[in-house]
Symmetry: C2
Subunit: 542 residues, 2 copies
């Protein structure tokens, strides 16, 4: 027997309808590519999203056809989020930090019909447009009078002229909530990029979950700064959850340096910000010399890669900002765990709380997880046993677009590629990526643990630990270090620094000072690239 | 094109699985019918819910068959919530405050197969069991040795003996998320009771929404006391949202008096409580004489009927507890609106904030609302125009069980029977029930507004305003008043008190002092009954 509740599909269009109707005058503020600040309201977003829908109708872009973006976090990108998906097309956010060859490959694989791009990325479009076989329309996200002449891109139109010609009214179509809404390619380290294809249902369930008090805790009293990019896993779903809650949105545009982020936080009274550790490190580096303070920021969620303990301490102790560790993946929409404390932790000492905060957190309702050993059997939740982390849930992929890579699931579970422990309270801690774990003498050494220790040294700005071939031990760890400007530390001092902080056999064999650690398109350390750079390196004594 | 996310139905069983796995040691504390305090954990709830599922299998109770409860808020009731629905049966919560004839009618209409009841309600069961044609099994919610002898109820078993014989393991079945999960009859004022039939999908979406920061704001750091009964619209969904968030649950059992509630709040460190105004009034009445204080309570959500401004002021100003007005209906699972402030309100004076807090609040994402005039056309959101309030959304009924009462929807919208205004910020305020509005000389007078003014008088404990037939004006308001113990006020003083607080023609024509206002099964004032009691009353001067 079925229940007798109203049949209403979960659709992205209902988010923007809600934001317009209930939070019409809440602000959306963007630093533009042009450098200035743009401000308007959720009501404006809704009207212009409908103009986008009408403009796509005008181009005869069909249901489920892909509309791509190469764009920073900003208001026009937000309009495309709702206008493209709301009208039944699929929003394909392309990571502009990818190599142009990859951009072209992805656009062809996705069969993009329309590509909308920020002017920053004109050179990429110029490099790839002739190779994008399915793209019929190129839209520059700029005013009509800013459209470049002689760009060489056929039929290039400005976004403002394109949508400006359209009425701002339409009725959003209703359709199956399992319809595809958006897609994002993972920058896989092996093989071709593979795309997660999100649905309206998965997006809305994720939007509810992401706003919960134990997740991002978003309300109509928040001003939210997503530094995490909208071109990568939907900025952690913040654009959707902000519409669901009526929060103010603040977009950094291309200016992700510490000074710009700090100024935006202060000027727009940001209460909540989300980003990857590298961006927050730049922010802290900017604030420290001038002894700057936050006047409104209360919470920051840090994810994308494990956050160095020193950074959590700095935010908490020096700036009074609660740092929440988050963990997720492109394949997970992206949120899986958030590290919020439980009631029983509140009376703990700060030191004990910190031990919990260093973990990636506990599962959000909707995400189920387990760790398994080499033979696939489930391991205990004791905070010690570590194994491959597997997840399942309604916002986790069951397969990739066009079946790329075959069936990724193992007995219905998605293998994350992370190695983790889970404690009795359900707090998961990633000990390493499966591929980054250093296997020394039959034991595993976590590269992340080594990096965290190095990062705690005051002279170290960034550290990356990788394994080097060793004839006896199979692999031995070394750590590549970027020194802070003006700071000095020797190889011997740093190796000494490890003493007592980890088991003796886990201490790296060597320290290599480098000018920079190669970063990937999403700001994560590219260890494959680092290994290439150090291909002629020899371990001491060999 | 469909998205490629995992297919996973939204099922109530996933809530209890989650609570067990991630919050296994979080407490569930109950004051029992026996008077003592029972405490255990979410892990225990899960194990015993599975015993319930196995026990129902043992009785060959089929998929979608109805299992009824007549029970207070307590741990066994909670186990039935998850065990009955999780295993695919339909939980039918019966309001024990209904007349036994109604209980029998409802049990027959629902075709209940099993009835589980607290010992408090043994007399009701004794009165009705012979008339309940479909019930095959009667379960007394007590220990085996407490089972009454000679009850006259055939095959009566104790809950503990019944589930105690079962293993605490089972695999929850998977099925269509639109399957019926639970049902609740409305105590309609006209015609037969009608049942809302909830689904697993509607229950889970409501559980996500109810936990949001702008709704009940539930997290793993909360201890929640639902004074709102589990026998009526699922205690506002708190049992489900608590499992979703891992909150501690505290159940008052039958002891809803001010002293018992106060002691439970203090002893169990309750941070959040939900109830109807009449219960909170008893709590405040208990606290005032002894100058008692709350040490952990931070928020309380008040709903069920409009909350007198004096009560909001008392909680806020005297006790430092944030009062959130809520509004919902049995037909809405039940939550529709919550009165949380927006960012732009935070800088307001307390007096201005209070003007907002007096409203029923703004719609939760998932609920769409509008107000319409007599001719069905939509009215503006200006805070002034008032009309019939209509709602729609995935946790709102589309029809009643067995089609009772025909199609309740008007163009897809459910008419709530409330008359309301909605302001430009989306804050809805109920001005009256459609049936309670007093129509005087072609104008409408809100009975609630009159009651609120009367309740603000220090000598008034409770007030009910009803319309009396008048030859010239059609209807004129009078107010029935219960005085506070020991307080004195005359008819003339009270009528004087209205001067300047409302339009002159809206001031009641008379004050009638009564010993008590009749209350319905859910604690709301029963104006129909009050009208009967005053059937010989004559307006002054007539």
């Amino acid at each position: 027997m079925l229940g007798l509740m109203q049949n209403q599909p979960l659709l992205i269009s209902s988010l923007i309808d809600f934001a317009e109707k209930h939070h019409g005058d809440a602000e959306v503020v963007s630093r533009r590519v042009e450098g200035d600040i743009h401000r308007y309201t959720w009501r404006d977003v809704a009207g212009r999203a409908r103009q986008v829908a009408n403009a796509l109708d005008g181009l005869k872009v069909g249901f489920s056809d892909r509309v791509a973006t190469l764009a920073w976090n900003g208001y026009r990108h937000l309009e495309l989020y709702f206008g493209v998906s709301g009208s039944g097309r699929v929003l394909h956010t392309i990571n502009p930090r990818l190599h142009p060859d990859q951009v072209a490959w992805i656009a062809n694989h996705a069969e993009d019909q329309v590509v909308c791009f920020d002017m920053t990325f004109l050179p990429i479009i110029q490099a790839v447009h002739a190779r994008c076989e399915t793209v019929k329309h190129w839209v520059a996200l700029c005013d009509a009078d800013k459209l470049p002449e002689g760009s060489g891109i056929p039929n290039l139109v400005s976004y403002e002229a394109w949508i400006g010609a359209q009425p701002n009214t339409c009725t959003w179509p209703s359709f199956d909530e399992n319809s595809a809404s958006s897609m994002c390619y993972t920058s896989g380290t092996t093989g071709n990029p593979k795309a997660a294809l999100y649905s309206h249902r998965s997006t809305l369930l994720h939007a509810y979950a992401a706003a919960l008090p134990d997740v991002m805790c978003l309300s109509a009293r928040d001003a939210v700064l997503p530094v995490v990019p909208m071109f990568h896993v939907n900025a952690w779903g913040i654009p959707y959850s902000a519409a669901l809650t009526g929060a103010k949105l603040v977009f950094p545009g291309p200016a992700m340096d510490g000074k710009s982020i700090y100024e935006l936080i202060e000027a727009e009274k940001v209460s909540y910000a989300a980003g990857v550790p590298t961006v927050w490190q730049m922010l802290l580096n900017h604030m420290k010399p001038g002894n700057l303070r936050f006047s409104t920021l209360k919470r920051t969620v840090i994810g994308g890669s494990a956050c160095p303990p020193a950074m959590i301490t700095a935010f908490n102790d020096e700036y009074g900002v609660e740092v929440l560790h988050a963990w997720g993946m492109t394949e997970m929409s992206p949120l899986g765990t958030l590290c919020t404390l439980k009631n029983k932790h509140l009376a703990m000492s700060e030191a004990d709380k910190m031990k919990i905060r260093l973990k990636q957190g506990r599962a959000i309702f909707g995400v189920d997880m387990k760790i398994v050993g080499d033979d696939g059997h489930e391991l205990p939740w004791d905070g010690k046993a570590y194994g491959d982390l597997m997840v399942k849930g309604p916002w986790i992929v069951r397969e990739y677009f066009k079946g790329e890579g075959g069936n990724p699931l193992v007995d219905g579970w998605f293998p994350t590629g992370d190695v983790a422990t889970i404690d009795a309270d359900g707090y998961m801690q990633i000990t390493d990526r499966s591929k980054d774990v250093i296997k020394s003498g039959g034991e595993w050494i976590s590269s992340i643990e080594i990096e965290n220790i190095a990062m705690a040294h005051p002279a170290v700005a960034m550290a990356a630990c990788i394994g080097m071939r060793h004839p006896k031990w199979d692999e031995r760890p070394i750590v590549a270090v970027v020194k802070r400007p003006g700071a000095e530390v020797t190889r011997e001092e740093l190796l000494q620094f490890f003493e007592g902080k980890t088991a003796k056999w886990q201490i790296p064999d060597d320290v290599v000072f480098v000018d920079a650690i190669p970063l990937g398109a999403t700001g994560k350390m590219l260890k494959t690239r680092l290994r290439e750079l150090l291909k002629d390196y020899k371990l001491p004594g060999l």
